[in-house]
């Protein structure tokens, strides 16, 4: 392991690590908590839950979100559900099984200790949410209902129709609102974090430079604000929007974690991107974002393309429709290739299989980039009414966008960028390589390895926010009880503010000829083509050069209208895209370095004869953590070896 990386995993048996550690961790007494400030960036499941929990514990909290209300964070869009090892279905589920499924689903590229802790606290999450009044789906007896999700053989997913993320987020938002009312949390909405500020630790010189605050921008007035704290928690989400088109919200961005990276927080496994198999296909150049259809649809829908090339061509040309293809001429390729899991294989496997068929010429729309998800068989088996009660809202959503009735005509779907497993490197305490800077939820890298299982993002966000960081942050803050409040009139704050003001002034005075979106689209195209579902050495090498060129062009030609001291969404975008243009290059470098295929990272050079991902455990069973060395310099790679004491590393098989 690199000398700069210490995962701080507690010793002892895997099953006891967390409970043992929790009982030994240093505490901050209630009278001292009042005098300790914590900043939380982002109010999704991880940030909202963390800010609310810190407030309940008595810390003095400042929470920031760029949306007009903390309730709008993108966690709200998660549809399908949240996993928990409750075993309410009596189908053999357990903490160990959830742990094992997650490790295997992540293709043996995540940390055993973190994942086991996640599986343990999963059960508390459901209890907490029900106590908050989250209206999960129930059976007629009044008990909670479950459904199954990809990559597992038990029913452990709790859900609230197709709006599970919304209900969980509103639960966290209500807990947060309660603390805002109580005065423990001060909420800054329509604020974006522009930089993290580091200072020398005055109480413990051994810690060196520690995170002591942020620079934030008020998006309405444009004012640059200084906020100090004893610790900063990033909960700013994933960076899927580097692809321009993704299922992320339009405002989702990497800026908070990228600024942290540039100040010394390592970025881990940035190339691990989840491409979700069931999204609506692209329809044209006007498109600004892609829409996801819940994975739960694969419980009852069957995925297929025509067996005969001539049928596929006729469909692409609009001469035939799905209804003209008899059952015998349909290729249910997931059931054919993966009989054990069928249509419920994990997301990475399902996405690649769709791409494989479409690349071979069997796509089923004008662009040749779509496959069918067919409910005909489910309707025959259980009737249209039952299908409607399970998926009614999703069918309605599909019909609104695609203008086709999915009860009559199979849905057309295609993979799209959805989630990023990579992110800011954190140790077992969720602390980054900058002391006092923590990262939670999608913005850290820790629990999903190279591929995340469905319904596990909500679980991880809430686990981090409610049940992990409230404990682990105390261990760090216990050394800050004598520090006193942190001043903001320091050279470090001056410097950070000056840098960001210069950047803003640059954008507004550049007067180039192209809009921010022009560059973002160009970057997105390269990322999708070369660093998307399939990657290879040649493409990645070229992509790195191409991204550098776009970046140079951007700084020459970008045009941002308006002023700095007003509501100016084009300026917000420019500041975000500038960071995406640097991140894209790092993702390609990481993908190029990883000479193996694992989970969502598929290098064409490394595959089995059957086209499955071929891992290289001997050389790549490590976390690649990158250290920033300057925008135009190569970053330095640090390796955290992954040790598996409790599971055997196998080729992942869903056959």
């Amino acid at each position: 392991m690199s000398s700069k990386l210490n995962s701080n995993i507690p010793k002892g048996d895997l099953r006891d690590k967390w409970s043992q550690y929790k009982s030994e961790i240093a505490l901050v007494n209630p009278a001292n908590k009042r005098h300790i400030d914590i900043i939380v960036i982002g109010t999704g499941l991880a940030g909202g839950a963390a800010a609310a929990s810190f407030g309940e514990m008595g810390y003095s909290v400042k929470a920031f979100c760029f949306q007009d209300s903390p309730r709008r964070a993108h966690s709200i869009a998660a549809q399908g559900g949240i996993n928990a090892a409750k075993n309410y279905q009596n189908d053999g589920d357990s903490v160990y099984r959830l742990f094992y499924d997650t490790i295997k689903g992540g293709d043996y590229r995540s940390r055993e200790a973190n994942v086991h802790r996640l599986a343990e606290v999963s059960r508390n999450i459901i209890d907490q949410c029900v106590a908050q009044g989250v209206p999960f789906a129930r059976e007629y007896g009044g008990y909670l209902d479950n459904r199954s999700f990809g990559g597992v053989q038990v029913k452990r997913t709790f859900y609230a129709k197709g709006q599970t993320g919304q209900q969980l987020l509103l639960g966290a938002y209500s807990a947060l609102s309660r603390q805002i009312n109580a005065g423990t949390v001060k909420m800054y909405h329509r604020h974006e974090m522009m930089d993290v500020v580091l200072m020398d630790d005055t109480t413990d010189a051994k810690r060196g430079k520690v995170a002591r605050g942020v620079i934030a921008r008020n998006l309405i007035t444009g004012e640059i604000e200084r906020h100090s704290a004893h610790a900063v928690v990033l909960a700013s989400g994933g960076y899927g929007n580097v692809f321009f088109l993704s299922t992320n919200a339009m405002g989702s961005n990497v800026t908070a974690s990228w600024k942290a990276y540039k100040k010394g927080a390592f970025m881990a496994n940035p190339c691990y991107t989840q491409i979700h198999p069931t999204c609506l296909p692209r329809s044209g150049d006007h498109q600004a974002k892609l829409t996801l259809m819940s994975e739960s649809l694969r419980n009852d829908g069957r995925v297929w393309v025509p067996k005969k090339k001539e049928d596929a061509i006729a469909i692409q040309q609009g001469k035939k429709t799905a209804l003209d293809i008899p059952d015998a001429d349909r290729d249910f390729y997931l059931e054919r290739r993966y009989p054990a899991f069928g249509n419920l294989v994990p997301r990475d496997v399902a996405s690649r299989a769709a791409k494989e068929r479409c690349d071979a010429g069997y796509g089923v729309n004008g662009t040749g980039e779509a496959v069918y998800l067919d409910f005909k068989y489910a309707i025959e088996r259980m009737g249209a009414k039952a299908v409607e009660s399970k998926y009614g809202n999703l069918f309605q959503m599909y019909e609104k966008i695609a203008a086709e009735d999915p009860y009559k005509m199979p849905m057309k779907i295609y993979p799209a960028v959805h989630y990023t497993m990579g992110g800011t490197w954190v140790d077992y305490n969720l602390m980054t390589t900058i002391p006092g800077l923590f990262a939670t939820g999608e913005c850290n890298f820790s629990d999903h390895g190279a591929n995340r299982l469905g319904a596990s993002a909500l679980m991880q966000g809430l686990a981090d926010g409610y049940f992990v960081i409230p404990y682990t942050i105390g261990g760090y803050l216990s050394k800050d009880i004598r520090t006193g409040s942190i001043p903001t009139d320091t050279p470090e704050f001056d410097e950070a503010e000056k840098t960001i003001k210069e950047r803003i002034n640059f954008f507004l005075s550049n007067k180039g000829s192209k809009s921010v979106d022009y560059f973002h689209r160009k970057l997105g195209n390269i990322m999708w083509e070369e660093c998307g579902m399939a990657r290879n050495e040649k493409g990645l090498t070229q992509a790195i050069e191409d991204i550098k060129k776009i970046r140079a062009d951007f700084w020459k030609e970008v045009l941002v209208p308006g002023k700095a001291d007003e509501y100016n969404p084009e300026l917000d975008k420019a500041l975000r895209v500038a960071d995406f243009l640097e991140l894209g290059e790092l993702m390609c470098r990481d993908a190029l370095n990883r000479n193996e295929s694992c989970g969502g990272h598929f290098r064409e050079e490394y595959q089995t004869e059957e086209g499955e991902a071929l891992r290289d455990d001997e050389n790549f069973a490590y976390v690649a953590a990158w250290e920033f060395k300057g925008v135009d310099n190569k970053p330095e790679l640090h390796k955290e070896e992954l040790v598996y004491d409790n599971v055997e590393m196998k080729q992942r098989s869903y056959k």
Binding site: S53, E56, Q67, D68, S69, R71, R72, H74, I76, A77, K86, Y88, N124, D127, Q128, V130, A131, Q132, G133, V134, P135, F136, R138, G142, Y143, L144, Q163, G165, Q166, S174, A175, S177, R178, N181, H189, T247, A249, M250, G284, H286, Q287, A288, K289, T291, Q396, K400, I401, A403, Y466, F467, P470, S513, S515, D517, Y518, L559, P561, E566, Y567, P569
Partner: protein, 250 residues
């Protein structure tokens, strides 16, 4: 498709605004309403003009951020969708389309089509929660909840807080929004302990924010993109009367 857009432009909260007309050409019928505004904005930016400010984020009808008053209807002519889910195939080629921000004094305009909806947050902060600290919960299946109650609570809880109900109401009343949260928690056993204080405090905050009174017109529910039922207002009124009859806040 070609359209004539009449869009409300307003520099800031204290400035007066006006409609500005923009012709737009060659829009695909598959394009979403907001994608059409994106296209217009890119054209404006490249001409060096200021783009139209509008709120939007998830673009899949769930975050509640988008908020356009289109041809006299919040979220446009179709039912049960948000502005971001509206597609241009819902209009005819050559149509004139009028776009305004939400109109309510409790939602002041920030710029163009962007309004300040923080009044909704303050209503929730006044009591829209169950006071349970992290880690206090018992096992989730200890209290069975009848499915019909859970389903009704869920239906109320699907409110996205967009404010269309206020925009649709001639009195700019926030009764549908407030009652959706009160109802959700009133229907669940977890919400009972604080039921009285909750409804009193939330209604008081709603009045303080300057939202108008409810006259049971039903426009809120008819225009709600999530179909939140007006039944929730009736339930909140019952909760309110129940609370007031035994209130200690006299």
């Amino acid at each position: 498709m070609n359209f004539t857009l009449k869009i409300w432009r307003q520099k800031g909260a204290k400035d007066s605004g006006q409609f500005v007309t923009y012709p737009i050409k060659d829009i695909s019928s598959d394009s979403s309403f907001l994608e059409m505004i994106d296209i217009l904005n890119n054209q404006l930016v490249e001409k060096g003009e200021e783009p139209i400010a509008f709120d939007h984020d998830c673009r899949e009808g769930i975050c509640g951020m988008c908020s356009m008053y289109i041809n006299g209807h919040p979220h446009g002519p179709e039912n049960l969708i948000t502005t971001c889910q509206l597609h241009m195939r819902s209009f005819k080629d050559g149509d004139s389309i009028t776009i305004e921000p939400w109109r309510s004094s409790a939602f002041p305009v920030i710029k163009d089509l962007v309004v300040d909806r923080s009044a909704f947050d303050r209503i929730i902060q006044a009591g829209g929660y169950v006071s349970v600290n992290t880690g206090n919960a018992q096992d989730a299946n200890n209290i069975p909840i009848p499915k019909t109650d859970a389903d009704k609570a869920f239906d109320a809880a699907t409110c996205i807080g967009c404010g269309a109900c206020v925009a649709a109401c001639k009195n700019a009343s926030a009764m549908l929004f407030t009652s959706a949260k009160v109802s959700q928690l009133a229907l669940l056993p977890q919400g009972q302990v604080e039921a009285k204080a909750r409804v009193e405090n939330m209604v008081a905050q709603m009045d303080k924010e300057g939202f108008g009174a409810c006259t049971n017109t039903g426009a809120c529910s008819a225009e709600c993109p999530k179909g939140i039922s007006i039944e929730n207002i009736a339930r909140m009124n019952r909760e309110f009367i129940k609370a007031k009859l035994s209130s200690e806040n006299v």
